[in-house]
Amino acid sequence: MEVTNLFLAIIYFQLTGILVFKLFVPQNEKTNVLYAIAVSWILGLGISTFAFFLFSLIFPQVTLVQILAIPFILAPVNYYFKKRVKVTLNKTDLIGISLVTFIGILLSMSAFAKPIFSFDAIAFWSAKARAIFIDGRVTTDTLKLFMSSDYPLLVPISQAITSIFVGSFNLVLLKGLTLITSLNILILIYYSVSKYFHFWAAALTVIIVSSITPFMDLTIGEHAGEADIVFALILLATVLAFLHRQFLLSGILAACLIWTKQEGLMPTLILSAIIFWKERKYFWQFASTPFLVSVSYFLFLKSGGVHGQYVLAGNYQRDIVKYILYPAQAFREEMRTLRLWNLVWWMFFATILINFKKVLKYPTNVVAIIFFGQVTFYVAVFAWTPHDQATQVATTISRLVFQLLPLGILLIALTLGKENY
């Protein structure tokens, strides 16, 4: 029964996402089915978790009735606007879906053999989720009890909603959410590469990415249940929506990015600046949603006296050059390790070096700026961290590099390939 309810929760997120996707994708524009599936999944997670957060400000307890109300509200809104979305499905897309499904079956063999158990998950991501599930709402008093109390809530609330569907807080079944998110990353990578290359190149890229150690670790292993895999998916989707000139949708996805992890602010600010500079009339279409989401969550935290650990407790008295060089070198060491990343980062940097002029052209340079902007942001956070720098770098760097992996592959595809459709 619990497994059936897990499937119902997954269908709920996907269905909610499809209803939102239909509302915000431009009318009569051809949309690829792979892109629609992955983006709908993100929107489903983002909208239902943020609605849960808003409901918990109004209701003493958010129940399944309020949760199910979200698609029931969205369905008539969709009907009212009567928007037509042309979703395209061709043979190569079917190959991609079949391949990812096959990989999903292989991964599920071990995904459900162990519960979520990494420190970050038990100390705060899933701990907050369990507290929200027990309380039926989000309160600052509860958040303050846990480590990293100011972190955004997409992952904890999505786990809490799933647990409400399941009826209990099951650390094994919750890995189903991570698995679906990981498969959506593969779907979006297949889409991104097949857009610029022959489909077999896309299929082989998916096989390579699916065998990378951090991908396995985040999907089925110790770190499943944390936010990095969700972040990686949303970052790629945000940039793809920007490249498709779907600025409103890109803005909503950027809001989901901030709602997943605070480092989502960096790509959002970079994209906002680029849109302000190059496509000024679309600026508010893009920037309004992330602005509203971040301000409302910031005010909620401030009203309850929840403070950020990095802003207040940052260590600003250090030999800063030394503390910048160490994480920069750590990124180099991480990326060059074949055991972890296969040859992906070697190919990435070789592509940039060989085709440097092409990387500088708009809009490829946007992807490069976001990529290197994000790396710079991580290095800065490591430089001023209130924690022991070496320990923090060692325990987080693989997950941070993974956040950038799908974006890196998109940059390779954009630089080397020609657009097919």
Binding site: M109, P115, L204, T213, M347
Partner: protein
């Protein structure tokens, strides 16, 4: 010729894996690169050098990926056997889940739980995961007044000291307090 070259790395890779002589892979990869470029020679003019190099590197990456998948699948039967065992057994297997014994007791909002032996910040966070929504009182010196006691580590309360054992595991024990004064008296230290 080109199909032979395309198949060769896979065959060599599988040979190396079967013989478990991993050092053979190095020269194999080098020979693959040269063979691949050589095989392209008659129509090499069609391609940019970067495309040839990229294609070769991509092929090697794919071989490495297939090796990872082979390792994963060779271990998958162990995972399947693992999943047949009970959920509790799985939890006990992991050091990070040694606090799982706390799951066997239900803690409510009205409970006050004295947490003894939480030496590291990790201990407090791992315990809170299971103890929430009860209030945690961290003991320093003497046992705080509470209706439940959680002791992390090997220490235990004697049966005659006014505490009923609720659950026990690799990480510690949980008790229900029946008589707080008895626990505090001499001879019942833990």
């Amino acid at each position: 010729m080109s199909s032979l070259v395309f198949c060769m790395p896979f065959c060599l890779n599988w040979l190396a894996m079967l013989s478990k002589i991993w050092i053979l892979l190095g020269p194999f990869y080098l020979s693959i690169i040269f063979l691949f470029i050589a095989s392209l020679h008659p129509f090499a003019r069609k391609f940019h050098l970067s495309q040839i190099v990229f294609g070769t590197v991509f092929l090697i990456a794919l071989i490495m990926s297939l090796m990872s998948w082979t390792t994963y699948l060779s271990r998958a039967d162990k995972f399947l056997k693992f999943s047949e065992r009970s959920y509790e057994a799985k939890l006990r297997d992991e050091d990070g889940l040694r606090f799982e014994f706390l799951r066997q007791t239900t803690y409510t909002k009205d409970d006050k739980v004295a947490l003894i032996g939480a030496d590291a910040a990790h201990d407090l966070h791992f315990s809170r995961f299971w103890i929430y929504p009860a209030e945690i009182l961290v003991g320093k010196g003497e046992v705080p007044k509470s209706n439940k006691i959680v002791i992390l580590g090997g220490a235990q309360i004697e049966a005659t000291c006014g505490a009923k054992l609720l659950s026990a595991g690799a990480g510690g024990r949980a008790y229900e307090v029946e008589d707080h004064q008895k626990i505090a008296q001499k001879g019942c230290e833990f």
